[in-house]
Symmetry: C2
Subunit: 193 residues, 2 copies
DNA sequence: CGCGTTTTGTACTGACCGATCCACAACCAA
DNA sequence: TTGGTTGTGGATCGGTCAGTACAAAACGCG
């Protein structure tokens, strides 16, 4: 029983996410967010409270969508080795499609570290969920025989996450696609049977 | 035949570097730089022209000192495998000593990408020099038999750089020392003979 | 001692920052 | 239609931003 919204809230979050993604947290002004979302200042603050809160929304939106895509891949068909291979190749490909903007999570980690607030909590949660998925995949790899045994699955998960994280930074360097594939290949050689 | 400086220029660069390192480029204000260096605004601008120019000085100071230390290690005694092992362990140790501030190069890459200016040039130069050193080390490793053969030394270099870069981001996560060592161990297992 | 030159401290610039205020618009229920 | 409630646009808030202007200060040199 009041005036309805004139915009789609989740679409606004999506737009804000791209603005933060492209320029980082500090370098994105509230005016940039208004421009990106098409909203007036009042609507932005009325809906999202503050720049930081909107960033947190954007970040969790990013991690959630990224995580579901990754989950579909890691819990999909094929051997664990095949799924890890697919994870690395799609990481490289999508990273290059993004015009070397890198990854919002990694960029945020580098820019803000682990703040003692919702942003840090979102980063922590993302890390844990990724590690959980990768650990499970590593465990399955030992069972299906596609991955080397003798390693703690949690360590394998950390290693894969480290490689993926590294690739997301390497994409911001000038690193060529071929070099990135070579990195992925070498990393896989450490874990596949 | 004029009024002499009242401060040490390179000491000021060192202080500015730590300020940028701790908070990133955007989040470090010119006032922060004055506080960190102990200089007045006039002295800062008279000596370093602009915030960006001072950042560039700070960044090259960082890369130069980091590179000489790394060079001493990679071109030092021992087999190539031993030197690469030492590189990874000292990377982890020094990264943890820094209170998880991460690496200025990686943080800058994530925050600013590869700008088309002196900063981008400094980042590019640092990458190339690191890859050159690592490539040479990988080549030597094939000769001294400590590293697996059959891989392009340039690819091995990219892989090691990727691992190191990843670890520098992982240090900004909550990643434990043990997990980081496990990552290093797995990475080494891919390249050592 | 002054004179030329550079550094330094301080005040200041216009622009922009994140955030708020408020009048008005738009809707629903009564 | 009217009253209650929420959304919106635009002006505006105090504060900070990077950078500058300028005069006093500190030296080397004659």
């Amino acid at each position: 029983m009041a005036r309805p919204r004139e915009f789609d809230e989740s679409a606004a979050v999506e737009s804000a996410m791209h603005a933060f993604w492209a320029h980082g947290y500090e370098a994105t002004s509230t005016q940039d967010l208004c421009d990106a979302t098409g909203l007036g200042r009042s609507s932005v603050y009325n809906t999202f409270t503050s720049k930081k809160a909107l960033f947190e929304r954007s970040l969790t939106h990013y991690t959630d969508s990224q995580l579901t895509a990754r989950q579909a891949l890691l819990e999909g068909p094929g051997t664990a080795a095949e799924r890890l291979t697919a994870l690395l190749t799609t990481t490289i490909d999508s990273e290059l499609e993004r015009n070397r903007r890198g990854c919002l999570v990694v960029n945020t980690l580098a820019e803000l570290g682990m703040p003692d607030d919702g942003i840090g909590a979102a980063l922590r949660s993302d890390t844990e969920r990724n590690l959980a998925m990768l650990t499970e995949c590593a465990r399955e790899g030992v069972l299906d025989g596609s991955l080397r045994s003798g390693r703690d699955p949690a360590d394998v998960a950390q290693f894969v996450l480290n490689t993926v994280t590294g690739l997301k930074v390497m994409s911001r360097r000038d690193t060529s696609r071929e070099a990135m594939y070579a990195v992925a290949d070498l990393a896989l050689s450490a874990v596949v049977a």
